[in-house]
Each structure stands twice: as C-alpha cells, then as structure tokens.
C-alpha cells in the first residue's frame, strides 16, 4: 500500500513553532485524517491551537524536547483497551521515533484539536489511524527538511530511524532534538508520504503498556484516587427500585453517626458528604429515606413470562425481511425451533462509578473516568447553564468501562453536587449503588425458527425478539443474514422501568450466542458437520441470492473460519472425552472464529481445556495489547455466559455485590487460549469487543457435542450446567 495524502483541507491546521526551550511543538487537527472515516464528524469552530500563544501549547500532540525525549499525547480515554499505548505507537511509527525516549501523556478533552476522543464501538484506533499516521509523518518530514537545508542536500536521500536523521551518502547524522530548533515552522509540507507496510518497525511488535510501572506501584491514576484542596468527599444514593421516587429523608437518623458533614438531595438522589468515603458509606446505611415505590412491581419471572407471551403478538418493528419466511416455513420439510431466555447483565466495572467536579460561578472542571468526555461536557454545560468552553473535562485512567461509562450520569451528578455544595467534590458510589442502578445489558426472550428443505438446506430463518424494556436488543445484518433466501428478524418489547445500555459488543454479545448455537442445533438435527454447514452458508452468502446488504465480507469471514479449523485440528481430535465447539462472529469491523475444547469427566463434570481463536482485525498495532484484548474478551464472555445475571424482584436488583453477582475467577478461566491473527492489509479495526461474541457459543456447542444438551436459559448456572 502506498499512501500519499494531501496535508491540507479546508479544516486542516498544522502548525509548528520552535518554542523558546528549543522544543519542536506540533499542533494537529486530527479530524483532517479521521473525518473521511468517522461515521459522525464533529463540527469544529475555531482552533485553540491556532489561537494558542507562541511556544507552550498544551494541546499539541507531539513535543520533542532538547534532551531527546519525545512527548506524545494519548487523545482517547484509556479503560484497559490499550489505546494509551497503541495510539501513540502509530505517531511514533511514522515519526520514526526512538520508542525508548517516548513519554506518553493523557490529553484533556479537546475535540477541535484531537478529533473524536471517545472510547466506544472499538473505534479508537480505527478512527484515529490515518490522522495519527499523518501527524507523525508530518513531523518527520519537517525534521528531515530542516536537516536537508542544513546540509544542503536533497531531503529525499535522507533516512530516519530511532529519532536520528542520517545521510548515507556523506555519513552525516543528526538527532531529532538537535535539528528541532532549526525547523522552519512556516515550511509546512503540502504532502506527506506514509510508510509502506513493510517499512513498519514498531507497529506489530509487543510493546508493554505505557502505564505499567504506574499501575504496578500503585500510583494515583483513577478517578477515585483524586484529591484536591478543599474537596468534599461523599457518596450518592439513588432510588433503590426501578421507577421509585424520593419522598423525604430524615437527617436525625444520622445523629451520632461519625464524620457526617452535609446531606442534600436533587433529582430523586441523596448526597452525603463526610470526613471520609467510608463514613459516607456508613451514613448511607443509616439514613432513613422514604421512597415512593412504583405502583407496578416487576420481577424476573413475570418479565420473562410476559415477554414470552408477547412473541405471539405482531412485532412493532421488522428489522429485516427477505423473501417470504411464513410461506417458506410452511413448505419446509422440517422446522427446528428454540426459545432463549436472556438475562440483564451489569457492567460491573471493578472501579465503581465516581467523579470529581469543581463548579464555580463562571466555569467548571470535571475530572474522572468518562468513555465519552465530550458528551459529559455537553450535558454538564447545559445543566449548569455554562458555555461548553467554560467546562474543562479531563480523563483519568478508567478502571473498566464495558459500555457503562458511555453514560455520564455519574459526572453530571458530581457537577450538580459541587454546585450545591459550593466546593470541589468527589462522589464515589458504593458497589451496591453501582450494581443495582440498572443501565444493564438488555434482557429478553428470543424465538428462533429454521425451515429445512428436503435436500437439507436451510431455506428459512425467523428470529422473533421480545425485549424487556428495550425495543430491539438484536442485530439484523450479521451472518447468517445474506445466506438464507427467506429471512426475517422482528421485534417487540414489554414495558419495564429497568434501564438498559450498550454492554461490551452491544447486541452481538448475545446474538452471537443465539445465532451460533442455533446453527449447531440445526446441524445436529440434520446431521451436518458444524464446520461444513457454516462453509455452505458462506458459499451461499457469496452468491447472495437476494443481493441484500450485509455487514460482513465473505472472504474475510471464511478465512478466520478456515484458520481456526486448522489451528484446532477440527474434527480430528482423538482423545477420549474431549469435545470441540465452533463459533464465529463479525463485529466492530473485525472477524473472529473460535473453537472451545471441553472434557467430560466420568462423573459428568465439564471442564474447559482451551480456546482457539482466529481473528482478523486488519493490521495488528500492538501484538501484546492485541492478544491481551482477545484473551480478556474470551474470559469475560465465558464468565458472563456461565454465571452472569441480574434478576429483578419487587422492582429491585437482586444481585448487588460480588457475593451474589458471580464473576469468573482464576481457576475457572480456560488455562490455555491460542490466538492467531489472520493479518490483512486493512487498516486496524476493532479489538476490544470482537473476541467476545464467539466464545459463549463455542463453549455451548462443545457442551452440545459432549452431552446433547441445548442451553437456552441463560446463564448456564441457571440451566444446571456448571461448566467451568
């Protein structure tokens, strides 16, 4: 691939200035590169970098210091997906920087300077890819131009590596830091040439996370670790039941409770400030609060019964309707059916919701673990009636997101509490508040029906969805859509006050399970090999009888399927008592295929032996980080499918802490995960989510192979299958 991109568009701004210190500082409009790719652009109005004074430029993405140190800004929130390492690596690659001299800093929110600064949809690397490459290449080009002028030689013959420019013809060399003061800031390259893939020296390597030392020595990195002069410390109490409202609270019940300083309410919430967070937590237990409970009390059994009954009613929306499913099912030689029950899941980030806010009359500072800091700024500016540019938002390292921190409720609440208290505040939620508050992965009932013709081909596929509260917790353009001539997905929902939100690999996290286990039910019924049936379906998708649009590309899908089959010697395992299960999924622009191997002991106990994963995420940026994402996604997925459930009783969450909500532990995780990246020339695509969806169905399909058991009531623990 050869990429030469013009460096200027109407909105582009590249600027260099030789700072008084001799540092080379470059500001860059990230959007120039990422706009073409980004699904939704951000309108820029004015450029703070352009208006910044000469010299010091806090939003500059790159600084070369006189001592050779290179400071790179990490623009996006880091929540464990590794972008505080992988994004700066992209700049460093094109800059030809000496990585050992790079220092990475978290950038504050400044979308005008940095482009889309959010962590969601596995988009961080994908949306910043071109912009960050060009950022590095622009700096490199300017440094080379300065050296060429100094030596009076053509720039084209100079080489760069490890922050050094060399002239092979004369043998001269100069370090970036030495030449930086001589860069002519007005000499902006009109075009920069990006590297060919075979010129990459850093990308694709294993680079340890840049925060490792800080994490492993316990440095203050997270929102809850923040301290500030005059800060009030507290916690917040939300309505304990979905649909409940605050009536009153009795502060006399806090008489004699240690450390309590202030109690007030807003928005049906009660805030308690105390000497310490723990004293606020203790006061939370003691404070008597009268809540107006919802008239209709919800519970899980009733929710699932209602949803199941609703499946027989007409849908509120038909999401995909190809051919004629009704007729095809009626004429089919054989119809296979399964109905699945899917529970709510909390995100259960290990760092509970928390945020710091310092709201003054004319401005505000909000600092905390936000996945979408621009959304927080918008929401808080509106609530405080301040212009957005008076609200400064800074991102801390995030102790897990999984989608929960796409909402900014916790940041908004901190801002309001600071305004009321008239001082800087830090609000930390208890684990119980965090888990019982809702915002769950949607629950629902899903009925699958497949029609098989006399030749054993799937001719009809009908998915009927009944969400609980959420109107369409389902994907509609993913495999096997496109491979079956009569295909319908329709949806409806029962009313519920339980709140839902995107949860890691939204909808894919469950539809992957449903689609991929159902394919195996069909395969088992008609006596087909699970690999063969998927290959057949992909062949049919390639021919695509309806020419309808699907999200995935068949060749890439087929490649991961074939690769994982080879990795695991599919169908050739000879050990007694070892069974394999296969599953695939496309999501977040990446392709994953997995094979789980389980053993069944004489007393009927199942054990996961290992998981194989083939994954196409385009180019691999940081091999260590990439493998970590795949391993973590698989383990999270297996834990969630085995144990994960929030059930509802009397409109309250039954599971409120880790004694009742079971997360997977060390001994339960597969001891071995074998990963192979199917590397392609595509730009890097999603990694935080795509390894998740195939793992649960791969495990279920292995259990199906071992025991013949279909698991349609989730989690597995509820179906009497203790698998790990």
């Amino acid at each position: 691939m050869s990429v030469t991109l013009p460096n200027f568009t109407r909105r582009t701004f590249v600027r260099a200035s030789a700072a008084a210190s001799g540092a080379l500082v470059l500001g860059f409009d990230w959007l120039a590169g990422s706009r073409a790719q980004a699904a939704e652009g951000i309108e820029t109005s004015g450029n703070p970098i352009a208006e910044a004074p000469e010299g010091f430029q806090p939003n500059a993405y790159l600084r070369i210091e006189p001592d050779g140190k290179i400071i790179l800004m990490a623009p996006n929130p880091e929540l464990g997906q590794g972008v505080k390492t992988s994004l700066p690596m992209i700049v460093a690659e094109e800059l030809d920087a000496d990585w050992s001299q790079v220092e990475v800093q978290q950038a504050p929110l400044n979308p005008e300077g940095f482009g889309p600064q959010y962590a969601g949809g596995s988009n961080s690397v994908w949306s910043n890819w071109t912009g960050m490459r060009r950022a590095g290449a622009t700096a490199r080009t300017m440094l080379v131009a300065a050296a060429a002028a100094e030596w009076n030689v053509p720039a084209a013959r100079l080489k760069t590596a490890d922050s050094v420019i060399t002239d092979p013809a004369s043998g001269r060399s100069v370090r970036y830091a030495e030449i930086a003061p001589k860069v002519d800031p007005s000499n902006l390259p009109s075009e920069v040439k990006l590297k060919e893939r075979d010129e990459f020296r850093l990308l694709g390597k294993r680079i340890p996370q840049t925060d490792n030392a800080r994490i492993f020595t316990g440095q203050p990195l997270y929102g809850a670790d923040l301290e500030a002069e005059g800060m009030a410390i507290g916690t917040i109490i939300h309505p304990p039941a979905f649909g409940a409202k605050l009536k009153s609270f009795d502060t006399e019940t806090l008489n004699g409770v240690s450390g309590v300083k202030q109690v007030f309410s807003f928005d049906d919430c009660v805030v308690i400030f105390a000497e310490t967070t723990w004293e606020a937590f203790e006061a939370r237990k003691r404070l008597r609060i009268d809540w107006e409970m919802p008239e209709k009390r919800e519970n899980s059994t009733q929710q699932f019964d209602e949803a199941r009954a609703l499946l027989d009613h007409p849908p509120t929306e038909v999401l995909r309707d190809i051919g004629n499913v009704d007729v095809a099912l009626e004429r089919a030689a054989h119809v296979i059916e399964a109905t699945y029950e899917v529970p709510f899941l909390p995100h259960a980030t290990l760092e509970p919701m928390n945020c710091f806010a310092d709201v003054r009359a004319d401005r505000a500072l909000v600092r905390g673990p936000m996945q979408v800091p621009a959304g927080a700024r918008r929401q808080i500016a509106k609530a405080l009636d301040l212009p957005e540019d008076k609200v400064r938002v800074e991102m801390t390292r995030i102790g897990g997101g999984f989608g929960r921190r796409l909402a900014n409720d916790f940041a908004y609440e901190a801002a309001i509490a600071s305004k009321i208290a008239g001082c800087p505040v830090k609000l930390v939620w208890t684990r119980e508040e965090d888990m019982a508050r809702g915002m769950y992965r949607p629950a629902g009932v899903y009925r699958y029906r497949a029609g098989i013709d006399v030749n054993g081909n799937i001719v009809a596929w009908h998915v009927q969805v009944a969400g609980i509260g959420h109107p369409k917790p389902v994907t509609s353009s993913n495999f096997p859509a496109g491979s079956i001539p009569n295909f319908r997905i329709d949806t409806r929902a029962i009313d519920s006050k339980v709140t839902t939100m995107p949860w890691r690999a939204p909808n894919n996290n469950i539809c992957g399970y449903l689609d991929q286990t159902f394919i195996d039910y069909v395969a088992a019924e008609i006596g087909k090999n699970p690999l063969a049936i998927r290959r057949e379906l992909l062949d049919r998708a390639a021919a695509n009888p309806n020419q309808d649009e699907v999200d995935y590309e068949v060749p890439r899908y087929r490649a991961v399927l074939d690769t994982v089959a080879k990795m695991a010697n599919w169908g050739e395992r000879k050990e007694a008592g070892v069974f394999q299960g296969l599953a695939t999924r496309f999501c977040h622009r990446s392709y994953a295929a997995q094979i789980a191997e389980v053993s069944v002991t004489d007393d009927g106990k199942l054990k996961i032996l290992r998981v194989y994963c083939a994954l196409d995420c385009g180019l691999v940026v940081n091999r260590s980080g990439a493998e970590n994402q795949v391993e973590g996604g698989i383990i999270d997925a297996l834990g969630s499918i085995c144990f994960g459930e929030v059930s509802i009783a009397e409109s309250k969450a039954v599971q409120q802490n880790f004694n009742a909500y079971r997360l997977i532990r060390m001994s339960e995780a597969p001891p071995e995960i074998v990963i192979q990246f199917v590397e392609t020339d595509y730009a890097p695509t999603g990694l935080g989510e795509p390894s998740f969806p195939p793992a649960p169905p791969a495990l279920a399909n292995a259990i199906l192979a071992a025991t013949g058991k279909r698991i349609t009531r989730l989690p597995f623990a509820k179906s009497g299958v203790v698998s790990v």
């Binding site: 294993r206 997270y222 967070t277 723990w278 834990g639 532990r665």
Partner: protein, 165 residues
C-alpha cells in the same frame, strides 16, 4: 475517634480514626496511599489486598483497631527502591488491561511466592481465588506468577553466589 500507631511499609504512622474504620480507608484517605483499591467493601473482589504480618488480607473488611502492631505492606511498599520480581514479571508479561485490580493481584501473588517460591498451577488457583479481574487477564496473571518465580530464583542464586566463600 481514636489514635492508632500503625506500622505501614516500614514506618510507624499515627492516625486518628474511628476504630471500626476499615484499614482500606485509613490507607486511602488518612495516609493517602491510594494504590489499594475499593471494589466491593465485603472482601469479595480482592482489589484491597494488603499484607498483614506477611499474609494477604482484604483491607476493606479489616477494622483498623484489629491491626495492632503487625506490620502492614501495601503496593506502595513493595520494591521501594526498584520493582520487586513480581512487579517486574507483571511488566514483562504485560498483564494489565484497566489495571484497577492489579495492585491486589500483585499483593496476593507476592505473598504466595514468599511461601511457595515455585508454585504449581493448583497452588496459584488457591492463592489467587480471592482476586477478581474484571478484564479477564487471568492467563497472564498465571504466566507472570511463574515468571516471577523464575526471576526470584535467579535473584536468590545470584545472592548466594555473592556470599564470599
């Protein structure tokens, strides 16, 4: 409110705190040692793990009054001059994702390796059973514990060789 003399990371520190206040919050908010994390408050997740007299304990359920004179070690007290073998192995294996649980994981692993210098997988399972990693870095945690065992053995061997005959 009462006064306690605590032996934390080798120093004696005096704090004023309610006797039932868990050690976790004394560390975090009285002593500003924030490496020890709050995750559940009921001793289930292990993010708050510290050493008490060398043994791993969940500091979120340990009242400060119960600490007594036993020495407390927190993540900040490990490898104060340079990273210890467990911390180095954690970096080498690049264990962390979000990192929030890792201080607790490292404290549990360090205590295990002090007791069992070359632990089996089964011993690792038992020692680490109290520490949840929500990101699912368990494969790497196990690998890093084995690697730390190697690093530690290397250090001991070197130390033994340096003793003059």
């Amino acid at each position: 409110m009462a006064s306690f003399n605590l032996n934390i990371n080798g120093s004696t520190l005096t704090v004023e705190a309610p006797p039932t206040m868990p050690l976790l919050w004394v560390l975090r908010e009285k002593l500003h040692l924030v490496g020890t994390k709050y995750g559940c408050g009921i001793g289930q997740c292990g993010a708050c793990t510290v050493h008490l007299g060398g043994a791993p304990v969940r500091s979120c359920v340990l009242p400060v009054v119960a600490v007594g004179e036993r020495p407390v070690t927190t993540i900040e007290g490990l490898g104060q001059d340079s990273l210890n073998a467990v911390q180095r192995a954690w970096d080498e294996v690049d264990v962390a994702q979000c990192g929030y649980c890792q201080a607790g994981q490292i404290m549990s692993a360090t205590a295990l390796l002090a007791k069992a210098p070359n632990p089996s997988d089964a011993e690792i399972d038992v020692a680490m059973a109290g520490n949840i990693c929500r990101c699912g870095t368990y494969v790497r945690i196990r690998k890093a514990i084995h690697r730390a065992a190697e690093l530690q053995t290397g250090e001991h061997t070197r130390a033994a060789k340096e003793i003059p005959a």
